[in-house]
């Protein structure tokens, strides 16, 4: 830790490899709510077969001291194997997927399609009055797309939250 402490707030993407046991997600979420840390995004899924391990990706924010706290608090949970601060430890890739429902007719409909094309969003469902777009990308790109759809009849958004991984040969 730098000394004296740095008070700037930064965003951090943290990957946590956990034992795939009952209650482990509750422990992680309880830790964040109990200690007043932010969760901007949280995803979890098994990454090994046979009830092996799961991976949790958390996007959070805080001063370097708080982020450091979050990491060591996570690390001391008994079922946690490893904690990696992807933002800190080197270049990484972060993606999320969104399903975006737009309802409308006429010009708006055509405009939505054109923008979807520009954003490389795919049409995965269509009726005469609606589209469902699927798009994958960084959080900011999805935010931008959703904002653009707002005046064009945006009705509903379903997002996966961030999945992240380090670039190159580095693993958690």
């Amino acid at each position: 830790m730098a000394y004296p402490p740095d008070l700037t707030v930064r965003s951090a993407t943290i990957a946590v490899l956990v034992e795939n046991e009952a209650g482990v997600l509750a422990r992680v979420i309880g830790l964040f709510s109990g200690r007043g840390y932010n969760i901007d995004s949280l995803t979890v899924a098994p990454v090994e077969g046979d009830g092996g391990r799961s991976r949790i990706n958390i996007v959070t924010s805080g001063t370097p001291m708080v982020i450091e706290q979050i990491k060591s608090q996570l690390d001391r949970l008994v079922p946690v194997h490893r904690v990696s601060d992807l933002t800190q430890d080197g270049p990484h890739i972060a993606r999320e997927m969104a399903l975006v429902k737009v309802i409308g007719a006429g010009n708006h409909r055509a405009e939505a399609l054109r923008l979807a094309d520009a954003f490389r969003a795919r049409v995965v469902d269509a009726t005469t009055e609606s589209f469902v777009f699927e798009m994958t990308g960084q959080t900011e790109k999805i935010d931008a797309f959703v904002d653009l759809m707002r005046p064009l009849g945006l009705a509903e958004v379903s997002r996966t939250g961030v999945a992240a991984i380090a670039r190159g040969k580095r693993i958690i």
Partner: protein, 624 residues
């Protein structure tokens, strides 16, 4: 009747003998029996518990064995505190057994207490059978949900084949790294159904492997800082006690070697001998003037096994502003949590302190002896203020000052120790009496002082003393209590009677929730809202009703005799010491104030300013 050939009978006999031979290996015991076997293999000798429907199979198994003793408490909270007292005074894991639902919820306060003070506990809770979980069954509670933030870790055993492994793991987790309470929730069918046994595992835990050895580079950095120090201070905490006798020995070696002034948190008292001139007394909210000013003015601070708790730091941005800090802790999350430090050392205090001693010797740099001498001269001026002085009248019928009561208790227990060799263990409740005990009772050894530090749980002291007495049957176990706190677990007097535990309850009766009254006086314009101890029981009769002995001292001339009689009495005692009702506990750093904004007592002529304590700010008023 049919005739069978000899071969038929022979084959039957064969199969029977075969099964008989195979039996010792394959026979499955009930879950409850497996549980007890695992506890025994973990070295458990005593369980503090209270029965109920969900844990009847365990009680049945307990009935049929002799290896593990069960102590029947009178409230589940007390079971946990008793196990804490047992654990804290022995360095072993304390074990608790309670039933489902209300048994488990009653235990929660004890669990949080153990969590905050890092006490190793394994608490077994009963649960409704697996097929009823989630059905709002009778006496069902979501115990793992409720205790998740109240424990270091918890388990719900859903499969019989996991049972033995989970028990072994729970003990490992409770005692390793930063110790803490672990709950194992046991559905009733798991206790009844047959389960396989597995031995204590030899392999390390899959994911939980706390670091215990210090990094050599960090040790070198620390020694460089310490050698270069001109105004150093060593600040130790409960972590040194938890690390065990080797850690205290290494601490004493380091302090003597360096000649550095040393102070301790409430939880750390006893790790360094309090009568030693290098010891400045306790620090923090009710710490000594010299300890707090040394912390404020130091240039290098070595924190060993303490966590920069708010009772210790006071206002954070004014805490020891000019010091470079070294922090030894086994829990990485304690480091840089409240106070940023320059040299973190993640390790067991034993290894870190031993490494520091070796590295100090190996390093050629000479300490700044002259600066150190003038730093000590400064400290001696603060010490000469005698912040703990008080005036006790000696006139017959004179009112007893609470500080004097503790002082005499200390002196007389010392005499007793010298005469009889009987060791003294002190526990406390929470309030002024607790702080006076910390200030005026002096500890020379670790594990002799049991108090609820982090959670501040009234009702802790009596059951804790009970657990200590179970672990040390010959010792003198005293609960220094307040008249309000003692009522929170007074039912444990019955446990004392049942097991003939000669615990001494030493009540400083000031007829107030004194600590609350003190805050109301200093911070809330002397409006004593609901802090008077109205309608108190007659404690002497109360002791009698619980098959103990009651004693009372109302004036200073009676005090010594009561203390002596209390110590000599082979049964449990409640000694009610009627003390000055309006005495305040000083020195005091009000919440949100800095160390150098300490209020000294009336002995030092400190008065209130505008009806409020000095150093108190509006921001401070919101703090606890």
């Amino acid at each position: 009747m049919t005739h069978r050939s000899a071969k038929f009978y022979l084959s039957r006999i064969m199969t029977q003998t075969e099964t008989l031979q195979a039996a010792p290996v394959t026979v499955l015991q009930s879950g409850a029996e497996v549980l007890l076997r695992a506890l025994k293999d973990q070295g458990v000798e005593v369980i503090f518990g209270y029965p109920g429907g969900a844990v009847l199979p365990i009680y049945d198994a307990i009935f049929q064995q002799n290896a593990i003793r069960h102590i029947l408490v009178r409230h589940e909270q007390a079971a946990v505190h008793a196990a804490e007292g047992y654990a804290r005074s022995t360095g072993r894991v304390g074990c608790v057994l309670v039933t489902s639902g209300p048994g488990a919820t009653n235990a929660v306060t004890g669990l949080v207490d153990a969590l905050m003070d890092s006490i190793p506990i394994v608490c077994l809770t009963g649960q409704v059978p697996t097929h009823l979980i989630g059905n709002d069954a009778f006496q069902e509670a979501d115990t793992t949900g409720i205790t998740r933030p109240a424990t270091k870790h918890n388990y719900l055993v859903k499969k019989s084949e996991d049972l033995a492994r989970v028990v072994h793991e729970a003990f490992y987790v409770a005692r390793s790294g930063r110790p803490g309470p672990v709950v194992i929730d046991l559905p009733k069918d798991i206790l009844i159904n047959k389960a396989p046994y597995s031995e204590k595992p030899e392999t390390p835990h899959r994911s939980y492997r706390p670091q215990t050895a210090p990094d050599a580079g960090q040790i070198a950095k620390a020694v460089a800082l310490l050698k270069g120090a001109r105004r150093p201070v060593i600040y130790t905490g409960g972590g040194v006690i938890n690390a065990g006798d080797r850690a205290t020995a290494a601490l004493i070696k380091l302090v003597r070697k360096t000649g550095f002034p040393t102070t301790s948190t409430l939880m750390g008292l006893g790790a360094y001998p309090s009568n030693d001139p290098l010891f400045l007394g306790m620090l923090g909210m009710h710490g000594t003037y010299e300890a707090n000013l040394a912390m404020h003015g130091c240039d290098v601070m070595l924190n060993v096994g303490a966590r920069f708790d708010d009772r210790v730091t006071g206002r954070l941005n004014a805490f020891s502003p000019d010091s470079r800090k070294i922090h030894i802790d086994i829990d990485p999350s304690s480091i840089n949590k409240n106070v940023p430090v320059e040299v973190p050392i993640i390790a067991d205090a034993t290894y870190a302190l031993e490494a520091l001693c070796d590295a100090w010797d190996a390093d050629d740099a000479k300490p700044h002896t002259a600066d150190l001498a003038s730093w000590w001269a400064e400290i001696e001026v603060w010490r000469a203020v005698k912040c703990l002085k008080f005036t006790q009248t000696t006139a017959k019928g004179g009112i007893i000052k609470p500080q004097h009561a503790i002082q005499r208790l200390y002196d007389i227990t010392r005499e007793n120790e010298a005469k009889t060799g009987q060791q003294t263990y002190i526990s406390t409740e929470v309030g002024q009496h607790q702080m006076w005990a910390a200030q005026y009772f002096r500890f020379d050894q670790p594990n002799r002082w049991m108090t609820s530090g982090g959670l501040g749980t009234m009702g802790y002291g009596l059951p804790a003393a009970m657990g200590v007495q179970i672990a040390h049957p010959e010792a003198l176990c005293i609960d220094i209590a307040g008249e309000a706190s003692i009522l929170m677990n007074i039912q444990e007097m019955a446990t004392l009677a049942q097991y003939r535990l000669p615990v001494k309850v030493f009540i400083l009766n000031n007829r107030y929730m004194g600590m609350v009254r003190q805050w109301q006086e200093l911070l809330h314009g002397s409006r004593y809202s609901e802090s008077y101890s109205e309608a108190l029981p007659d404690f002497v009769k109360l002791a009698d009703a619980f098959h103990g002995v009651g004693m009372r001292a109302t004036s200073v001339d009676e005090l010594d005799d009561v203390i002596r009689a209390m110590i000599a009495e082979p049964r449990a005692v409640i000694a009610e010491i009627c003390v000055d009702e309006t005495e305040n506990c000083y020195p005091m750093i009000p919440s949100g104030a800095a160390h150098n904004d300490m209020i000294l007592g009336p002995e030092h002529g400190t008065a209130l300013q505008n009806g409020r304590a000095a150093g108190l700010t509006d921001e401070g008023l919101v703090l606890v």
